[in-house]
Each structure stands twice: as structure tokens, then as C-alpha cells.
């Protein structure tokens, strides 16, 4: 948590921890800037002044307990949630929070431009059940970007191959496993050829045996230099793929740094407690200790 992490000569930004990642082209500016973001749900102060800059090619992991605000932050980036205070900038499209005023036509168009550039992958996949896999993939490119149908199909097939599901092209989503659905959802986001991918706990709704295939696709994307912001509880993924990990607690970043620092050598007591809980998942004694549940003595030795 020292300011020494700021590299001399980097562009002055609102995020003191931002720095170009492994795949960032030289001289590139941050492609996502979240400035002084605050979010209230009624009287509940969910985000309390968040600054996050992401350079092109970076993979950023947001970690934290449930209710810490990490999903809300991600959903503010593409305006699925309207921020209360602050600024969002994605690939040059800048929009300020406007919680009380109804958005004008031009502002709604700007929000749409942000969404086109920052595609989201949801926890619950949200594939369109009435459309075949291929039609899920070409719907938005045709309607939103005006891509010709042949071209859209070619692009979609390319990304279906990337996620390893070319043979499911003409299936309906309900005939796929959870892992396959999420991979199709990733391919659907990729088909829009976005500048940034937003992942909102992409493996949390999956059977544990299906988590691996989704994480593998995501790791490959990260290693190919995709720009990704990932809300996740998968520390192995963060360790493998993230340029920077942000630990968020009660709406604030409390520890930021490369994964080997934040995950393996956390300094803040809140980060330590969170990671201890996460690691304790398989050990009943450890869970009992962390959660304060009294354990009964074994009947016999």
C-alpha cells in the first residue's frame, strides 16, 4: 500500500496504483477510468469514492466479501447501475453520474456506446433461450453495429472456436451445460469485438466441476492481451492472470497490488481475514474458528 508503486513518468490519474500492464502498448492511456465513484442504494452507501484506471491489455481482478461493492462497481462501469457521484470513461466516451435527472437522448446514446465498448459476462449467463447459439452471437453485431449477416456469422464462428464450442453452433442454450453456457456467453461478448470485457463472478453459478473450463478460456483471453475487469472469488485465476488485484471492503479499495502481493502476502487485516475465510473452505475447523461456531468434541478418539 505504498505510493512507491507509482511509476515515475506515468500519466497522472485518479488511481494511484494504475500502471501499464504486461500487454499494454507503449505510451497507451488508460482505456477505462473510474473517477471518485460513489453509489447509494437509498441510505446504503455501497461505493465510497472509488478510483480505478485500467490500461489496454490489462487484466484486473476485483475481490472482496459479498456486499463489499465489487459487483456494483463493475455494473456502474457499463451503467447497468446508475452511479450517484463520479465519472466513467471507457475508450474516450466520458459520462458523469446523474442519479436524479432523467438521461437525455444523447446521454442514453453515450451509455449505449460505453456498453458496446465494454461487454459484460454475467454470473447467470443470461443467454437468450429462444435463440440458437449462433443467433445469440450474431444478434447484437447485426442490430447494433450494422455488420452484414455473413460477416457476423464468420466472426461468431471464429469466437465459438476460441471457446471450443464450434459443434454447439445450432443448439439451443438450454441443451448446454453451465460451463458451456458461460463459454457461449463469453463468445457472445467477444462477437461485439469490445475494447474491454467485464466479468461479474462468471464462475459463481457453476457446478465446481465446470469452473475449470470457463477459467481456462478466461486465462487464455488474458494471456492474449484482452483488457478484462473480473469480479471473482477464484484466487488461482487472479494469481495466474491478473496484472493487479484490488481488494474492496465496504465500498473502498483497502489493498491494491500485483496478485503475489495482495493474495499471497496481504498487509491489511481485512484482506488477511477475507483470504483466510476463502482458504478455509475445505477445512471445517478453520471455518469454525473464523466464523466463531463452537465445535463439539469428538465422541471418541
Amino acid at each position: 500500500m505504498s505510493a512507491a508503486q507509482i511509476i515515475d513518468g506515468a500519466e497522472p490519474t485518479g488511481d494511484p496504483f494504475a500502471r501499464p500492464g504486461r500487454f499494454t502498448p507503449p505510451g497507451a492511456e488508460p482505456i477505462v477510468r473510474v473517477g471518485d465513484l460513489e453509489k447509494y442504494y437509498g441510505r446504503n452507501h455501497v461505493l465510497r469514492g472509488v478510483n480505478l484506471d485500467v490500461f489496454p491489455g490489462e487484466t484486473i481482478c476485483l475481490i472482496g466479501r459479498s456486499g463489499s461493492g465489487k459487483s456494483t462497481l463493475l455494473r456502474c462501469v457499463n451503467f447497468l447501475e446508475e452511479p450517484t457521484v463520479g465519472t466513467i470513461e471507457v475508450d474516450g466516451v466520458i459520462l458523469h453520474a446523474s442519479p436524479t435527472r432523467k438521461r437525455s437522448v444523447s446521454e442514453r446514446e453515450q451509455i449505449r456506446q460505453i456498453r458496446i465498448r465494454a461487454q459484460m459476462v454475467f454470473q447467470e449467463f443470461n443467454l437468450f433461450p429462444h435463440l440458437k447459439v449462433i443467433d445469440n452471437l450474431i444478434l447484437a453485431p447485426i442490430l447494433v453495429k450494422g455488420v452484414a449477416k455473413d460477416q457476423a456469422i464468420a466472426t461468431a464462428e471464429k469466437f465459438l472456436a476460441v471457446v471450443g464450442l464450434s459443434e454447439k453452433r445450432d443448439e439451443y442454450p438450454n441443451r448446454l451445460s453451465g460451463g458451456q453456457k458461460q463459454r457461449v456467453a463469453i463468445a457472445r461478448a467477444l462477437s461485439m469485438e469490445p475494447k474491454v470485457l467485464l466479468f461479474d463472478e462468471p464462475t459463481s453459478a457453476l457446478d465446481p466441476t465446470l469452473v475449470g473450463e470457463v477459467l481456462l478460456v478466461m486465462e487464455q483471453l488474458a494471456h492474449q492481451g484482452s483488457t478484462m475487469i473480473v469480479v471473482t472469488h477464484e484466487m488461482a485465476f487472479a494469481r495466474e492472470a491478473a496484472d493487479r488485484v484490488y481488494y474492496i471492503d465496504e465500498g473502498r479499495f483497502v489493498e491494491v497490488g500485483p496478485p503475489e502481493q495482495v493474495i499471497d502476502a496481504p498487509q491489511d487485516s481485512r484482506t488477511q481475514t477475507f483470504l483466510a475465510r476463502l482458504n478455509a473452505r475445505q477445512k471445517p475447523e478453520a471455518i469454525a474458528e473464523v466464523a466463531g461456531i463452537p465445535t463439539t468434541a469428538p465422541a471418541s478418539a
Binding site: I116, F122, N126, P129, V144
Partner: protein, 280 residues
Amino acid sequence: MTQGMGSAAALVGSPPGLPPIVVDVESAGRRQTTAFRIRFFLTWAVIVALVGLLVVLGAHNNPRFHLTDWLPFIFSGVGITLFLSITSIVIACVLAVFGALGRLSTNPYLNGVASLYVSLVRGTPLIVQILFIFLGLPAVGIVVPDVPTGIIALSFNYGAYLTEVFRAGIQAVPSGQVEAANALGLPQRQVLRRVVLPQAIRIVTPAVANDFIAMTKDSALVSIVGVQELLWKAEAAGTPYVEVFQTIAVAAVIYWVMTIVLSLFQARLEKQMAAGDRRS
């Protein structure tokens, strides 16, 4: 109890020392089904025969009236009955889509109009609406002929009920679907047209088919303004000979057969609409 238990057979509590009692569950179920079916259809046959007997006994047996002579005339009403019902259900569905969007609108004027429509039409009897259009509107200089009266009354009436069905159907589409469409960057209109409505239509199909079957029967009400549909023809055939009981009974049977056939179509339609929902 656990080992050796096949899917078609179950062990039933066997006394100690004796071989287990094995019950062939599957064929026992089959025997039961056959016996059930025989009794089921026997029940139908007896009741229908009794009602038929009542019709025959209740007839005046007017020597100048031969029912068979009039059957083609009565049957010719089926066409107009189906024409009224099909035309009206199509118009009702269109009204219902706009009605539902109005009921869900945040615009107070659109919402007000849609809500008043539903309240007014659902709050008054269909026969009153028919008479209002046919007898009431001429008072203000709008004369509507009989068949258009029937179509307008039926489509407005069912449109109001279907408005609520469509509204519920649209609301039943998971919010994640709208979020995903928004996140892809689809404009609002396309979110509605390409994502919400196709799924809502699947959800409401059984209810719409149900209402269509109900409408084929409610269309009999428009005979009151002289539309020459099935009931009107049945009455017209029987009245001069004081044999309405028989001709009405014929009409009843025709309505019944029509609804049975339509129910079969409904089952097929629902199966087709479920494309994408099937898992196997």
C-alpha cells in the same frame, strides 16, 4: 431393501425367512391404466347417451320436421363462427400487445388509456358491449353492420383480458434477459422486439390458445344482432317447426367437437413453441 431393486420392480416388506415379495410396478401400472381407461370412457358414453335420449324424448316429433334436412344449413354456420373467432383473436392479440405496453408504461397518459380500457371492458358484460355497438352507436350517427359489430365487440373484449395476460407474460421474462440485451448495446426498441416479446409470446401461448377456444363459444352471443353464425342458424332452422331443442342440441355438439379439435391444435402449438425450452 437397497440391493437388487430394479426400476420396474420393488420389494415389498417380506416376512423374515421367506423369499421377498416382488411387485412388477410397471405392468401393474399398465393394467391399472387400461382398467381406468375403460371405466373412464364408459362413464362418458353413458352420460352422453342419457343426454341424447333426453333430446330425443324432448323433441315434439313434428311430422313436417326432418332434422337431417336441416343439418347442412346448421353446419354452414361453422364457417362464420370460425371466421369471427379467428379474425377477432388476431385483432385482440394486437390490441393486447399495445395494451400491455401501455399498462407497463411510465407515461401517465399511455398508462391511463390502457388501464381505463382494461377496467371498462372487463367491467361490463360482453353482451352489453355488443348491444352498445349495434344499438347504441347509431344514436350518434355511427352505424356498424352486424358482422363488424361482432368482430369489434369480441376483439375489444378479449383484447382487454389478453392485455393482462401479455402484461404478466412480459413481466415473467427474467430481468437478466433485459440486462443482457442492454449490456450488448441493443436500443430499447430492439430489446423489446428481439428479446422480451419473443419470450413473452412463448409464455402466453397457452393462455391465448385457451382464450381462443373460449371465444369460439362466446361468438354465439353475436347471434343476438343477427350475425348468421352457428347458433343463429340452429335457432333459425328449429324455430318455425317448434323444434329448437333438437337443432340447439346439434349446435351444442358442433361447438363441443370444435373445442376438442382446437384443444388438439393447442397441444401441438404449445409443443412447437417450446423449441429451445426442451432439454432432451
